[in-house]
């Protein structure tokens, strides 16, 4: 895996915008080059280390790939990934019971204040899809939805797929008179954070005022609501429920396509409808690079970009204020440096499998600065 990554990176140099820190990689590397021997800070300690990672189900498929690849190359390092929800990732990292927490949501000011030294380190850029299971709408047609309609659905004002608000956005599409079943996450979730952020930004006086955003919010108790656990549960639940609408992380695109769920085009701040893909995600993210603070706690949802898809985010590794011991800290640092390395964990071989986008050089620098502060 790492060798393939090195070869792929050799062919696609330049897309990630390498900074001075990685000029050693500027020259194309031969395919048989020893993978992993690229940077000294990516080499973990020689001792046997077991690291635990828990949190976001959106980041989980990527973490599974990373853990397997890293273990293959450094068999003394075993990383146990778990997909338990961003809330658990933040929670376990705050209480120090896990080495790496994963979250789609950055940390709140209260958490930063209560646990000084806790960090959220951006690893990649991901996005969230809105999927639906509506009969009669072919896979080639992507329904257009916006924040107002979504808020109306989740608040219970819009109950059927052929409601006038939905038809107004989708002229020419034959919508059935089917009840909309609104799926939401039952666990404390970063996807809920992203979805509710989008609804709050697009309905500042409605949803933004009454319900707001967070990893755990009180969804309105409407008759046709269903709760599912994890992104995996959202996929299987939506596939089994005709008329459903669900917010699912983009790392599950292959699964939603296999389950024949439709994917919606969302309206961005400038009024254009887009699907989430490499171009639209990168366009939307570009607006935020210069605004990202050193602690990388920034919402990327609904920024101003004509060609941008509105629901995108940094994927964060939440690092506890103090690792259990020095060896663990060194291993965590080595792993994270490898993860943000465009020839390592952030190579297309890994990111394309989950439809994520790599961090640009400027943000990767901020992440590297935060990784350097990890202590044990």
């Amino acid at each position: 895996m790492l060798t393939a990554a090195a070869a792929a990176a050799a062919l696609t140099l330049g897309t990630a915008g390498l900074t001075g820190a990685s000029t050693a990689l500027a020259a194309p590397r031969p395919a048989h080059a020893k993978a992993g021997a690229t940077k000294s800070n990516e080499i973990p300690p020689k001792a046997k280390v077991n690291l635990s990672e828990t949190g976001s189900t959106l980041l989980y498929p990527l973490f599974q790939l990373w853990a397997a690849a890293y273990h293959k190359h450094y068999p003394n390092i075993t990383i146990t990934p778990q997909g338990t929800g961003s809330g658990t990732g933040i929670s376990d990292a705050s209480s120090g019971t896990v080495n790496i927490g994963a979250s789609d949501a950055y940390l709140s000011p209260t958490v930063f204040a209560q646990y000084p030294g806790i960090e959220n380190i951006a690893l990649a850029i991901s996005a969230q899809m809105i999927n639906y299971n509506v009969k009669g709408v072919p896979a080639s047609v992507h329904l257009k939805l916006d924040g107002g309609v979504l808020a109306g659905i989740y608040e219970g004002h819009i109950t059927n797929w052929d409601a006038p608000q939905v038809r107004a956005l989708n002229p020419g599409v034959k919508l059935p008179n089917e009840k909309i079943v609104a799926l939401h996450r039952s666990d404390s979730s970063g996807d809920t954070f992203l979805f509710s952020s989008y609804l709050s930004d697009t309905n500042p006086s409605g949803w933004g005022k009454t319900i707001g955003y967070g990893t755990s919010i009180s969804f309105p108790a409407i008759p046709n609501a269903l709760a599912e656990e994890g992104n995996g549960g959202m996929v299987t639940g939506c596939a089994a429920t005709p008329g459903c609408i669900a917010y699912i992380g983009i790392s599950y695109l292959a699964k939603t396509e296999a389950a024949h769920l439709g994917e919606a085009m969302l309206q961005n701040r400038d009024g254009f409808f887009h699907l989430p893909n490499a171009a639209t995600i990168t366009a939307e993210a570009a607006a935020a690079y210069s605004q990202t603070p050193p602690d990388e706690a920034l919402s990327l949802v609904d920024d101003t970009a004509k060609a941008g898809y509105p629901i995108i985010n940094y994927e964060y590794a939440i690092i506890p204020p103090k690792q259990p011991n020095g060896t663990d800290a060194k291993a965590v640092k080595a792993f994270l440096y490898w993860a943000i390395d465009p020839t390592g964990g952030s190579s297309p071989a890994f990111l394309d499998a989950v439809n994520f986008q790599p961090l640009p050089a400027s943000i990767a620098q901020l992440s590297a600065a935060q990784i350097a502060k990890i202590k044990g």
């Binding site: 146990t80 990934p81 656990e229 299987t236």
Partner: protein, 325 residues
């Protein structure tokens, strides 16, 4: 006075007439009405009562069947989903990030169970010994009811307290020690109760004979009384094993989870266990993990069946060799 004497003799009140049984007239009477009455022509219970008898016992036997049916359904459901895709490497390979097997969970469950037997077994047996041999009326009653109240505390409440007090408060993190302490608190009441009742059933003549021979109380306890109570004590330990194998809620928040074989360090090292695989892997979108979830359920059912057979064998053996005092 004269009036009383002059009163004519009155016949006794009608109800006090001597009962005059006229067998002849009874034999010629109509037989009692069939069905609603108690007996029929031939003195058997009426058909109504016989029907009630048949229906009642039929319903009871149906109840027995309805109790067995879910058991078979559960075992069939687990076996039918796990066995077709079973391969023995599930037992030998640890879980990895993308699948693997259940080796580390099985070792973790066995390790936790062994630890609970040692820790809770020691405390429970000593507690049972105290309650049956040494405790006097009120202290004994107080300690016993305290133990029973502890047995009634739900396992998730103990898991919460273990998480807050041990994992986070005492900075043990997810660890074997936190899991062992929490599960021991859960199982000690059961072991103490079975030990106490087993010791009480040992005939007093054993103890008296030992005292007559001049053995000290401690020696009597270990050499004679406990030995005679071994089947009962073993039943208690088997209950403890069944609880450690099957509990999830307390372990979720004390043992954590790990993909590697459990290290023997007591703190700072999470341990994987079988029930976690059943609880978490079934709703992963990967078929490999869902299959592992069924495999873990199968291993659990097999372990429980083995425990039940073992406990029955121990009871049968002890009854064969038991002395009746």
């Amino acid at each position: 006075m004269s009036e009383l004497q002059n009163r004519p003799p009155t016949s006794p009140a009608p109800g006090l007439q001597p009962a005059f049984v006229d067998l002849g007239s009874q034999a010629n009477q109509e037989p009692p009405a069939a069905g609603g009455g108690a007996l029929d022509l031939y003195g058997r219970p009426s058909w109504g009562r016989r029907a009630a008898n048949a229906v009642g016992w039929g319903a009871c036997v149906l109840a027995v069947v309805l109790i067995g049916a879910p058991l078979f359904w559960v075992v069939y459901g687990v076996v039918a989903r796990a066995v077709p895709h079973w391969h023995w490497s599930v037992i030998t390979t640890p879980t990895s990030a993308v699948g693997g097997g259940l080796a580390n969970e099985i070792v973790g469950t066995l390790l936790i169970t062994a630890g609970v037997v040692v820790l809770a077994g020691t405390v429970g047996i000593c507690s049972g010994v105290y309650l049956s041999e040494y405790a006097k009326g009120r202290t004994g009653a107080l300690l016993r009811s305290g133990s029973e109240v502890l047995a009634g505390v739900p396992s998730i409440v103990l898991g919460y307290v273990g998480y807050i007090a041990l994992v986070i408060g005492a900075h043990w993190q997810f660890s074997l020690a936190a899991a062992l302490v929490t599960l021991s608190v859960l199982t000690v009441p059961y072991i103490a109760k079975t030990t106490e009742s087993a010791l009480r059933q040992v005939p007093t003549s054993y103890r008296e004979g030992a005292e007559a021979l001049g053995m000290s109380q401690v020696r009597t306890m270990t050499r004679i009384t406990l030995k005679a109570a071994v089947p009962g004590v073993t039943t208690g330990l088997l209950i403890a094993i069944a609880i450690s194998v099957g509990e999830t809620a307390p372990l979720l928040y004390t043992a954590g989870f790990s993909d590697s074989m459990p290290s023997l360090s007591l703190t700072h090292s999470p341990v994987g266990y079988l029930t976690y695989a059943v609880w978490t892997f079934y709703n992963q979108p990967s078929v490999t993990f869902q299959q592992l979830s069924y495999d873990a359920a199968l291993v659990l059912v097999v372990l429980v069946a083995a425990l039940v057979c073992l406990s029955r064998a121990i009871v049968a053996r002890s009854q064969r060799y038991a002395e009746r005092a």
